[in-house]
């Protein structure tokens, strides 16, 4: 069986959609963070696949994916630090408790 562009793109878009769904529905901050990671990783797949199948002569997409991974790692580190701080002050990592400020 020939693996074409679509065999990679469709799972990647499904992955992104799962991330968006999880971001909106999850109550736990850590679960929301995992959903965000899912979205960022599906973008990396997109870049690498476009590069590999459509523009095999160059490396731009691969490099973008590498940098995007590094950026995602930085984001996770920061988010975890802030979630730990939230847990220290509020004794919970549930988004439903983070409603002191609204409207």
């Amino acid at each position: 069986m020939d693996l074409t562009l679509l065999y990679y793109l469709v799972p990647s878009i499904i992955m992104f959609a799962c991330g968006v769904y999880g971001f909106i529905t999850r109550k736990n901050l850590i679960a929301i963070l995992i959903s965000l990671e899912l979205m960022l990783n599906s973008i990396d797949i997109n870049f690498v696949v476009f590069n590999r199948f459509l523009f095999p002569g160059q490396m731009e997409g691969m490099f973008f994916a590498l940098f995007a991974i590094a950026i995602a790692a930085a984001e996770t580190a920061l988010a975890i630090a802030i979630v730990i701080n939230i847990f220290r002050v509020a004794k919970s990592v549930d988004v439903q408790n983070l409603t002191k400020m609204k409207f």
Binding site: M39, F50, E60, F64
Partner: protein, 484 residues
Amino acid sequence: MDYSQFLFMHHEIGVLIVFLLVFLFDTFLPARYQSKLAVTSCVLFGIYTVLSFFTPLDNAEAFSGMFVTSPIVASIKNILNVGMFIVLLQSIQWNNSDHEVIRRGEFIELMLVTLFGMYLMVSARHFLLFVIGLETASLPLAALVAFEKKQYESHEAAVKYLFTAVFSSAIYMLGLSFVYGFAGSLYFNDIAVACGLAEGSMLLYVALAFVVAGIGFKISLVPFHLWTADVYQGAPTSVTSYLSVVSKGAAAFAAFIVLTQAFGTVYSAVWEWMLYALIILTITIGNLFAIRQTNMKRFLAFSSISQAGYIMLGVIAFNATGIAALSYYVLIYVVSNLTAFGVIQAIENATDKVDMTDYNGLYKTNPKLAFAMMLAMFSLGGIPPFAGFFSKFFIFSSALAEGSVAMYVLVLIALINTIVSLYYYLLVVKAMFINPNDNPIPTFRSHWTERAGLVICVAGVLLIGLVSCIYTFLNQAASVSQLF
């Protein structure tokens, strides 16, 4: 590799030097000098700000076109410098307060790093560099928002800011991956060519919708504005003022650069109408929500949302006057908004009060602060002798330059909203000057740094509109910058 190309990055090198000096001071000098850290770094940054006005203005590029500098880009960076300097000046007293003293260095260093990221956003002509700049500008800001370690609101604001920021960059980068899919390159020039060829393709619409949504999150355009008010309220006031002027200004410039340089060829076909709808929504809903706020920081958050709508008029204008009017608007917005935040911060440091009802009768006890706040409100509302009127005038005229009926309708809606905005700006003035209060904020004398910051801002509000050479200079810089 040709190392001389680094020499074109005047501003970046300058801010890196300031960063390194502050970092060395913070790390290696003995404890008895540390109380001078905030003032020293402010002075260092001030020297750099003044020097940066004298850097040569020319068109140059580095890293095979990834990084571009031109007269208007250099002027934009100078405007950001001015905002950053005033924010640093106003933050000194808060930074030296007992509970912040241990993290004094980090605050200034993180601010300088975000400024570096904003420079990259404005100068980038390749999406890899642009995304790195964007993340460098937004990630340390989340740490800054969470800076009041003992306060719950600060952490709630940081979670909301960071998660929406990452979510928006994910959406943005998904759009970029589609752009890469049909353009085969991430250089703005190549994308512009590919967009022109791909006009009418569905992929282009989807990709641009994602990119515009991602940018909209950063500038807090309505429907992507929901994080703004909470973050502004929860963050320390110095960080709020930084977010609302420097960060927003840089994002607006970046939006202009990306939309005109990379997607300029499909302006009227694709993104003009997206932006048109966003601007109307932003100005109107920002204004309507501002009316019902009682917390001053939330109030200014919604006011800054509607101001972002006005700023985007310079982008939709899509001409060289547009970027000149946009930079001019941001400059005036910097001084007016920092006047308001300077007053709020002075009162918060002295009494811990941020509600609008607390400001009742402020004129009786602190006439100078009330007067400065009044000037800021008049300028933000656009009352003629003050700077805000001129910035609104130029941005409206740049949007009307093309002369289409749609643009006239847009400017008409913006004008009607200006009148609505006058109502809530004057509510603050009424609270300070007319409303009686049995228990007003007591008379106090604010710290000299806060007074110095307010004097600079008030001078800006009074003078920038009248000194016409500033706009002439920006217009001249924009026309020789090879943007169109």
